[in-house]
C-alpha cells in the first residue's frame, strides 16, 4: 500500500532566506482590527489542534499590536497555508480572566497573540 505523500516543499521554497512568518507578509488582506480596539475571544471548537488557550475563551481584551500575517495554527498544523490571516497581540486584564484575582493588583495583565478568526468586536 503506498503512503500518501504530503508535499511540504512549497513552504520551504517560500520561506527560505525570508523566514516564517515573514514569508506570508501582504497575504492576509486588510486587517479587521486596529490597535486599541476592544475585542472578545471566541469560543470556537478545537477538536484537533489549536494554540488558542482555553483560559482566553470568552474573555474581553484590547488589541495592542498587529504583529504579523500567517496561516492560523489550526490550518497550518494540517499544512494548509492558503489563508493567511492577521495576528494580533492582545492584552487581558487579569481580573477578566480570573474573577477572584486580587483587587490590589487590578492593573496586572496578560498579553498573548491570536489569529483574527478568534476575535470578535466588543
Amino acid at each position: 500500500m503506498s503512503k500518501p505523500h504530503f508535499d511540504r516543499e512549497h513552504h520551504v521554497k517560500k520561506a527560505t532566506g525570508i523566514g516564517d512568518p515573514q514569508c506570508f507578509k501582504g497575504e492576509a488582506g486588510p486587517a479587521k482590527f486596529k490597535v486599541g480596539d476592544k475585542v472578545r475571544i471566541k469560543d470556537l471548537p478545537d477538536i484537533f489542534y489549536s494554540r488558542t488557550q482555553v483560559y482566553t475563551r470568552g474573555a474581553p481584551a484590547t488589541v495592542a499590536e498587529l504583529v504579523y500575517e500567517s496561516p492560523a495554527a489550526e490550518d497550518e498544523s494540517w499544512d494548509n497555508t492558503d489563508n493567511p490571516v492577521w495576528f494580533y497581540s492582545v492584552v487581558f486584564k487579569q481580573k477578566d480572566l480570573w474573577p477572584d484575582y486580587p483587587d490590589t493588583f487590578a492593573n496586572d495583565t496578560v498579553e498573548t497573540e491570536l489569529p483574527e478568526r478568534w476575535l470578535e468586536p466588543l
Partner: protein, 231 residues
C-alpha cells in the same frame, strides 16, 4: 597566572546516563528516524547558542536610544547588530516549527514589568537566548505564572510594588520574546560590556531584574505540579 596552566578539571567517569544518551541516538539513527549528518549539523548550531547576544542587545539599547527604538519595533533587525540572524543563522534558513523568525523585545518601565512564559509547551527564543532552563519547562511554572504571577515571581525572589503592572507574556504563536528591563541605578558611565554582564538569562525571561554586581542566575525553584499530568 599559574592557575592558567593547571588543566581544567574533568569528569573522569562514564555515567549510565551518558551511555544511554549515546545508545538512544545511535539506535534512532540506525532505525532511520534521522540521519547522523542532520543530527551533527543541528548539534553544532545549538552549541553556538547562548544568552550573550540577548544580553548585549539589552546593553546596547540602554546606551543608545535609537537602537532601543529599533529593538522594540523590529527585534529581528536589531538582533543582526548582536550577531544573530533569525532567518539565515539557522541551518534551515527559514526557522523551524519551534523557532520561528519573529522576535519581540518587551520594554519594561518603572511602572510595567514583563515576564515570559509559554503555557502551551515551552517556546523559547533559542536563537538569541540558548536553551531554556529546566524550571521554564516545568508544568508548575507554565500553569501557575499566568494565574498567580506575583506569587511565582516572589518564589523567584522578585517582589513588586502594587503600583507596578505585572504583564505576563504568554508565548503561544510565532513570536518569541525577551524582556528589556529598566537599567538599574548604580550603572552610570558603564560600558556596553559591563552592562551586558548584569543582564542575566533570568532578567531576559523576566523573573529577575538586573542589579550591579549580580552576574549569575540564582538557583531556581523547580517543583512538580500538584495535579497529575494528563493529556
Amino acid at each position: 597566572m599559574a592557575e592558567k596552566h593547571k588543566p581544567a578539571p574533568m569528569v573522569d567517569e562514564v555515567s549510565e546516563f551518558e551511555v544511554l544518551e549515546i545508545a538512544v541516538r545511535e539506535l534512532a539513527i540506525e532505525k532511520g528516524l534521522f540521519t547522523a549528518e542532520d543530527h551533527q549539523h543541528w548539534t553544532e548550531y545549538m552549541h553556538t547558542l547562548g544568552p550573550l547576544p540577548a544580553a548585549r542587545l539589552v546593553a546596547k539599547a540602554w546606551l543608545d536610544p535609537e537602537y532601543k527604538k529599533l529593538a522594540v519595533k523590529d527585534g529581528v533587525k536589531a538582533s543582526l547588530d548582536v550577531g544573530v540572524d533569525w532567518v539565515n543563522s539557522m541551518p534551515t534558513k527559514f526557522g523551524t516549527p519551534s523557532d520561528y523568525c519573529n522576535l519581540r523585545v518587551l520594554e519594561d518601565t518603572p511602572k510595567l514589568k514583563h515576564v515570559v512564559v509559554c503555557t502551551l509547551c515551552s517556546c523559547y527564543p533559542r536563537p538569541i537566548l540558548g536553551q531554556s532552563p529546566e524550571w521554564y519547562r516545568t508544568p508548575n511554572y507554565r500553569r501557575r505564572l499566568v494565574r498567580w504571577p506575583r506569587q511565582v515571581l516572589a518564589e523567584f525572589g522578585l517582589q513588586l510594588p502594587e503600583d507596578v503592572e505585572v504583564r505576563v507574556e504568554d508565548s503561544n504563536q510565532k513570536s518569541r520574546f525577551i524582556v528589556l528591563p529598566v537599567r538599574p541605578e548604580g550603572t552610570e558611565g558603564w560600558t556596553e560590556d559591563q552592562l551586558a554582564e548584569i543582564v542575566t538569562r533570568d532578567c531576559l525571561i523576566g523573573v529577575a531584574v538586573p542589579r550591579p554586581g549580580k552576574t549569575v542566575n540564582d538557583p531556581r525553584p523547580v517543583r512538580p505540579a500538584i495535579n497529575p499530568y494528563k493529556h
